[in-house]
């Protein structure tokens, strides 16, 4: 029966204040089942406080073949990092 179930991507937020992160994928027939399955498969060791699920087909992914044009131009632009001046101690999370 599993062959007929669509694939879902699971995002879990570990603690309040932190963002949801991709944890993995699973099969489920509908949204509710996807949430329940995600809870059982990915949060049984107390990993999460919030879960998002989305059908994998709704994710548009970049094509690895285009990596050159997409990402390489950024490799030699060190001036885009804020590393050329000293940050005061009071400024956090940079």
């Amino acid at each position: 029966m599993k062959n007929n179930w669509p694939l879902w991507e699971v995002f879990v937020r570990s603690k309040n204040g932190l963002e949801h992160r991709h944890f993995g994928s699973l099969h489920a027939a509908d949204e509710e089942m996807a949430l329940e399955n995600a809870r059982d498969v990915y949060t049984r060791r107390n990993e999460g406080v919030s879960i998002w699920v989305v059908q994998s087909k709704h994710i548009k992914a970049s094509n690895p073949e285009n990596n050159g044009e997409l990402f390489e131009p950024a490799q030699d632009k060190v001036y885009r990092h804020p590393t050329f001046y000293t940050l005061p101690d009071e400024v956090k999370h940079m």
Partner: protein, 251 residues
């Protein structure tokens, strides 16, 4: 209420969790999909965890050196006080879900009352278990609806399971003498009062699942007195094998 009777009252609750947990753990590695396999095993672990809390308390009341393991593994069949429903075998996934659903609805109603027990330990165990069992009920209810309102085959299978297991539901509300003593001393729950709400909830889900509520008025009981169905002996031989073969063995 004498300790002896409290212990029997505890068995009446805890043995259900142990035996249903054992049935679910038989499916570990055999679930219909990886996700449902893990879900069923999770529920088995919840139930075994609850069982331990109850048995540890019972062992403490016995005060004769016996432990939770003695209670779980070394009683004879007649000394287990679980209802017949939970010992029924894992025929197919729809059957497992229906058995679970019939028990979960009762289990949650029971715990919601047991948390008001005058016995502090029973009340604490109930409070902790309510969250687990709320999820069990959600999981099994959703699956009953999904299967009932699913394909022609899944509908038929789950309807057959409902028809077959229905006769075991009435026993859930059967009051033993220890139940009555526990109610009198305000440590236990008057389960006979839960019956109406139970069938309301069950019928609501069955209706949503496009399933038919059986009309039979014939019900089977006996488990709560220790008189079990033929399946129980096989279950216990699995459950008790290690302790019987290697007495006092530990992990």
């Amino acid at each position: 209420m004498k300790n002896e009777n409290i212990i029997q009252y505890i068995y009446g609750i805890a043995d259900n969790a142990l035996i249903l947990g054992q049935r679910l753990s038989e499916l570990c590695g055999h679930g219909p999909s990886l996700e449902t396999d893990i879900a069923l095993t999770n529920m088995a672990l919840d139930l075994l965890g609850q069982t331990r809390s109850y048995y540890q308390y019972a062992a403490q009341l016995m005060a004769d050196g016996k432990t939770e393991d003695d209670i779980a593994f070394l009683r004879i069949e007649r000394e287990y006080k679980n209802v017949l429903l939970v010992e029924q075998p894992n025929k197919h996934f729809g059957y497992v879900i229906t058995r679970q659903f019939f028990y979960d609805v009762f289990h949650l109603l029971l715990l919601q009352e047991l948390q008001n027990s005058k016995d502090e330990i029973l009340s604490a165990v109930a409070k902790k278990a309510i969250k687990e069992v709320s999820y069990h009920q959600r999981f099994s209810s959703d699956w009953v609806k999904r299967l009932g309102d699913g394909t022609k085959e899944s509908h038929q299978k789950v309807q057959d399971a409902v028809d077959d297991l229905w006769k075991f539901t009435d026993e859930l509300f059967h009051m033993t003498q220890d139940d009555m003593l526990a109610v009198e001393s305000e440590i236990g729950v008057d389960i006979s009062l839960l019956k109406e709400k139970y069938y309301q909830r069950i019928n609501k889900v069955l209706e949503e699942a496009t399933l038919t509520t059986p009309e039979t008025k014939w019900f089977q009981k006996g488990g709560k007195q220790g008189i079990h169905s033929e399946h129980m002996g096989y279950l216990l031989s699995d459950l008790q094998y290690m302790q019987r073969t290697y007495p006092n063995m530990e992990w």
